[in-house]
Amino acid sequence: MIRVMNIISLAFRMVLYYWKSYILITLQIAAGAFVIYSSLTIYYSIESRYKEMQDEVHALTWNIVAQSTDDSDSPPITYEQLLQLKNSYTEAMFPLHFVYPVHYPNQDNELVEAYFIYASDDYMKLMIQSDETFETSQHVYMGAEIKQFMENNGDLLKLLPDTPAYRIIDESLDIGEEAHYSIIPITNVSNHKSNSFEISIHFGETDKKALSENIVLLPLKAVYEHHMPNIEMALRLPVRVDPTVPGEEATILIMQVVSQLFSWNSAYSYNVSTQLQQFLLKMTGVKDTAVIVSVIAIVCLILVILGLTGLIHLLFNRRKQGLSILIAMGARRQDLWVSMVLESMYPALLGVGIGVLGGYYYLPRYVQLEQIEISPTAIGMFFTVAGCLLPVFLSSSTLLLRIYNMKPIKILSRE
């Protein structure tokens, strides 16, 4: 122990004596360590957020948004195509549903909004945990309020697109200008609108509740009997991937589905949840930049370390006499070698310390990225310290042979 302490203190004494030679190298290592640590921290922070987002792939229902590029009247996905997707991608759910917001006057003669949702089996499973075959059935799930309205008005509804909903106030019409889908009891409305369609609601067949008071859940397949392209409202095809599938594979699956849909229906454009996608792309760019900066910093650091190696060898040449004296006085050559390695490690350690602490302080305060928390990472610190100290150690280790080949007698006799 005393021997080790003596070697450490000898090396420290030498560094103090030659501090002017070491100070520039120390500052250069500090700068290199700062850049490496900063870029690693940014990289790992993004990587960590990336992983969180990959996990969110499972929690999220991805929405593939379909938008018509022309006046195509075909649906963005047919029922047969949906079945094909379900067969091809068994690890995913496709809770497809078509939503028609409609308006009607309620008991209090107020215009209220209701939703007719044509739902797939997966949608029913996801939303109300129903395992029944629904999408091809004749069943209907109804909210209480709209059910009451329909009980009063018969079981056949007519949907009137592009028709404002209305109500009668004091025997005159009050038109809801904002409500462009209306449902009016068929008995009260003439059949003159060409794009209107009827929906048969056999509400007596089920007493199951829909999702809310004003929702009607209808079998998906029925929508294809009277589907109408809706330019204003983009259709969303939701996809949910099984949580056992790794995040990256899940993302690939989504992309494959998009590609498949486009090959079937080229009249539509399909995009995945754009905000998330843009974020991933943006962060990929930042991550790549962090990697490039790291590589540049490592190259610079290697140059600095080569400089340090040169300095150590220069000092060795100047100190041959002193080392020979120490050998004459009983120092073992390996002790002298360890001492010189330590001597080069001190300024490197100081430089790395300054660089890492600088990054630790500076980064969270001055670097801010959207949705990313830049937090110090132990792994970043480890790699920075290892990345800086290991080459210093290896380069100063080259002194070993020189010290072992040194002839103290020749050196001392020369004086």
Binding site: G322, I325, M329
Partner: protein, 220 residues
């Protein structure tokens, strides 16, 4: 104490063998003051280095208190030197990066002496050689005589059995040289074995015994 049996030393220089020390036997008793004299190039420094375990014999055996040293390895010899021998060189050979105090402490550091004890002993030795007021001076701040006194204090650091002095007054004026010789004689009187290389005939006279070297031949 120090015994060389059938020793010789030769070098190979440009495929030519140069015999620096012809076959010889040598015995130095404990407490003796031996002067090694001879002309320049006669091999006296080589003999001193062999006795100080800084160089090795080409043939023959070297014993210290009947322990054979000539077959020992570098590390063992280093440890042995540190423990039993002290060196004083003509050119002082102080470590320029160390203060006088640190120079005296250095040999103790390699003998695992605790820091506190090291410091106390180094201060006492510097005081003994009359440099108690120069402990924090670097070698370049000291005169030649002062540097040599630091070197003597350093040689005494590990309480050696033998001190080897290689022309210790060679770089000093007569006055400083006399002071150094007085110091070495005082150490000898205290019981330390002293082996000194010199070409000064007067110094040879104050030694207990002189060894003359002529072209590598020892003539006691």
């Amino acid at each position: 104490m120090l015994k060389i049996v059938d020793g010789s030393k030769s070098y190979n220089h440009n495929d030519k063998i140069i015999n620096v020390l012809q076959p010889f036997n040598l015995l130095i008793e404990k407490g003796e003051f031996v002067a090694i004299r001879g002309k320049s190039g006669s091999g006296k420094s080589t003999l001193l280095h062999i006795l100080g375990c800084m160089d090795q014999l080409t043939t023959g055996d070297y014993y210290f208190n009947d322990n054979k040293l000539s077959t020992n390895k570098d590390n063992t010899l280093a440890k042995f030197r540190g423990k039993h021998f002290g060196f004083v060189f003509q050119a002082y050979h102080l470590i320029k990066e160390f203060t006088a105090l640190q120079n005296v402490e250095a040999p103790m550091a390699y003998m695992h002496t605790p820091r506190k004890l090291r410091r106390e002993r180094a201060l006492a030795l510097l005081s003994q050689v009359g440099l108690e007021d120069k402990v924090n001076f670097y070698p370049k701040q000291l005169s030649g005589g002062q540097q040599q006194r630091v070197a003597i204090a350093r040689a005494l650091a590990n309480q050696p059995d033998v001190i080897f002095a290689d022309e210790p007054t060679g770089n000093l004026d007569r006055d400083n040289g006399n002071k150094i010789i007085s110091l070495l004689c005082e150490l000898h009187r205290q019981g330390t074995t002293l082996v000194m290389v010199t070409h000064d005939g007067d110094l040879g006279k104050i030694a207990d015994r002189s060894i003359h070297l002529v072209d590598g031949h020892i003539k006691s």
